[in-house]
């Protein structure tokens, strides 16, 4: 059994604001029958842009119903601008947390909200329309994936699966999903470098050396040692077989520097001492 919070249980046992709404100002939809999760959100918005009523219909598990139910509660009284700021994490937090495997329920709530707001603003088609679908089993689009990874700081496939369901069925999209995770991770790490303390940067460099560089060099009987870091300059010395190798300058530029550039920042320059 899942470890649901009291709030989650309260909301699936006694869901608030269930049902269809007559003459809604906006309708938002997320998920599908195929996924095993689907949510329809109805909003009534007054002339000042304040949400005066919210209702929902959900096909899904306990936490899906709870996420929908609490979302309708959260929305009432908010302006559309305020509602737009609600994230999936806010929904999960309002429930006192969700099991990691069920985070996708809060993501679905957020998607339905986005879709309803788009509908309110008269955007013919919500942001997901002509987008690339990455996970065909659960119809998860590239945008949804990127958003989930960025907003929730997801670092591996399993987390992404828990948050978005992507990759949870046939597994064919695992490579594509991993690519997105890696790309965003790299991007994030690269952006951060300028604001990094020297200790942070050294740790990061050491990490890349350990993970991507040392092992490769050791295969050829060599190794590398980090000597110093000054601003964007990384001072290293090659050891073992690499030291006497006539291709060492090549190794340094095309492998060591290239790896550090790829994983940390394109500004990095490697100097041999």
């Amino acid at each position: 059994m899942w470890e649901y919070t009291e709030t989650v249980m309260d909301h699936y046992k006694n869901p608030r604001n269930v049902g269809e709404m007559e003459n809604p100002s906006a309708i938002g939809e997320a998920g599908s029958l195929v996924c095993g999760d689907a949510l329809k959100l109805f909003l009534k918005v007054d002339e000042k842009g304040v949400i005066t009523d919210a209702k929902f219909q959900t096909f899904g598990c306990g936490s899906a119903v709870a996420s929908s139910s609490i979302l309708t509660e959260m929305l009432k009284g908010k302006t559309i601008e305020e509602a737009q700021k609600i994230t999936n994490q806010d929904i999960a937090d309002a429930l006192g947390g969700l099991p990691p495997e069920k985070m996708h329920c809060s993501v679905m709530g957020h998607e339905a909200l986005e879709s309803a707001i788009a509908n309110y603003k008269g955007e013919d088609c919500d942001t997901h329309c002509d987008e690339k679908i990455i996970c065909k089993c659960y119809h998860v689009t590239e945008n949804t994936l990127r958003e989930a990874v960025e907003q929730n700081n997801l670092s591996d496939l399993e987390d992404v699966m828990n948050y978005t369901k992507a990759g949870g069925a046939c597994g064919q999209c695992h490579v594509a999903v991993q690519k997105i995770i890696d790309e965003l991770k790299n991007k994030k790490e690269k952006v951060d470098i300028k604001n990094m303390s020297i200790t942070q940067l050294v740790l990061k460099i050491n990490n890349v050396i350990e993970k991507y560089i040392s092992n490769e060099l050791r295969k050829d009987g060599g190794d590398i040692e980090l000597i110093d870091v000054k601003e964007n300059k990384v001072y290293v010395t090659l050891k073992g077989m690499c030291k006497s190798c006539k291709f060492s300058s090549n190794t340094l530029k095309n492998f060591v520097e290239a790896s550090l550039k790829e994983h940390i920042s394109p500004d990095i320059e490697v100097v041999e001492v």
């Binding site: 046992k13 029958l33 095993g36 689907a38 096909f59 899904g60 119903v65 949870g168 069925a169």
Partner: protein, 398 residues
């Protein structure tokens, strides 16, 4: 009806029969000797183990008690059989099984595929039945093992394993035939000596023995290497001091299961049918998954269209009713049931499929209570569904 438990999840596990528990008790603090010891104190215990082996033999309809190996679980029996046969036939690299096996078997094949084995997964039709022609056509020179479950754990559908074993042996008597009979045991009678089955797995906790004990039937003449290397126990195939109290419990459970077979086939079936018919009569968006003519007597799998299984289970649980979801959502996987998917169950009922499984301890009152409260739960959940138009159409069709 307050605080009661109506246990309709007997395919997951069963209550230990109090008579089984009574039989086990002396072997903890009083008769604790090692069956292999030379003294009489151990000798007594050896007799108890021998008696249990005899009881299991009788239950399975085996020829000789030597054909019974005690294991710790159904999964262990399956592993021992499958991996043992392959180890004993190292030059053959092909296995045939079905798409609807239990994960205890399917995951072994996934592992073996990585080791270079080729696995053919046989299809089932919409009723959950096997196509024996496909089996026949799948057999090759390279086939070492065919493994087909006796009855499916989710739908209760019985597979034609005896016929399948015959087909396999006609094609090539050297191919070994294994059946995971965990879900068939205690629900339909066995007479394994008059079949061409070489290996058969059962698990104690599905037949009112405790968890942590099972047995593997190994037909005389079937080569199987040691699964646990060590002492001479279980004819050297599974070393380790015997789990005496549990072995005694399994023996007793087998004896009781055999004695209750008539009851199972008539009374348990009557209650299952009452539950099933009652649900179909009162709930318009309910549909049976799988064949109803060829099923173990205790199981029904019902798809509630346009609502989701976990939600149904949570609401039933609040009312004290324990059932299980066909959708594996509840077991931590996001994927819906591989069994129902293989049968082509449509999405509108795939995610809302619930398995009710009875036992000889299920009472008429429990079934009546379930029939009383279940429709209220389903109709409440129908109201939450976004598929109101579809539900309305179903209702009108009724």
């Amino acid at each position: 009806m307050e605080n009661r438990v109506v246990y309709l999840d007997n395919n997951a596990t069963t209550m230990v029969d109090p008579l089984v528990f009574e039989e086990m008790k002396p072997y903890f603090c009083d008769l604790y000797g090692n069956p292999s010891s030379m003294h009489e104190f151990g000798g007594h215990v050896m007799k108890a183990v021998n008696k249990a082996r005899e009881q299991v033999k009788e239950f399975l309809g085996a020829k000789d008690a030597k054909e019974i190996i005690f294991t710790a679980s159904g999964s262990e029996g399956d592993n021992m059989a499958i991996r043992g046969v392959l180890e004993a036939n190292k030059n053959k690299k092909h296995i045939i099984t079905t798409k609807i096996e239990h994960p205890a078997v399917l995951n072994v094949y996934k592992y073996l595929e990585k080791q270079g084995y080729e696995v053919t997964y046989l299809d089932v039709d919409s009723q959950g039945n096997l196509d024996l022609n496909q089996l026949s056509e799948s057999i090759t020179e390279d086939t070492a093992l065919v493994s087909i479950m006796y009855a499916n754990n989710e739908t209760g559908v019985i597979l034609p394993v005896e016929k399948a074993a015959k087909i396999v042996k006609q094609k090539n008597p050297k191919i070994k035939f294994h059946t995971d009979a965990v879900q068939a045991a205690g629900k339909i009678p066995f007479d394994v000596k008059n079949t061409e089955i070489d290996l058969m797995t059962i698990a104690g906790h599905k037949i009112h023995a405790p968890k942590g004990i099972g047995a593997l039937y190994v037909k005389t003449g079937t080569l199987l290497p040691a699964f646990v290397i060590g002492g001479h126990q279980e004819r050297g195939k599974r070393a380790g001091t015997e789990n005496v109290p549990y072995i005694v419990g399994l023996g007793k459970a087998c004896e009781l299961a055999q004695k209750s077979m008539e009851f199972e086939l008539n009374e348990v079936k009557r209650l299952r049918d009452k539950l099933e018919n009652g649900i179909l009569k009162t709930i318009y968006n309910a549909k049976i998954n799988g064949s109803t003519t060829n099923r173990v007597p205790n199981t029904t799998n019902i798809g509630f269209q346009y609502i989701e299984g976990e939600l149904i289970l949570l609401h039933l649980s609040d009312l004290g009713i324990c059932a299980s979801s066909g959708s594996a959502c509840t077991s931590g996987s996001l994927e819906p049931s591989h069994v129902l998917k293989s049968m082509g169950v449509p999405f509108e009922s795939l995610h809302g499929s619930i398995r009710f499984s009875l036992s000889r301890f299920t009472t008429e009152e429990e079934i009546d209570y379930t029939l009383k409260v279940l429709p209220e739960v389903i109709f409440k959940l129908n109201n939450i569904s976004p598929y109101q138009r579809e539900l309305k159409a179903l209702k009108e069709k009724c």
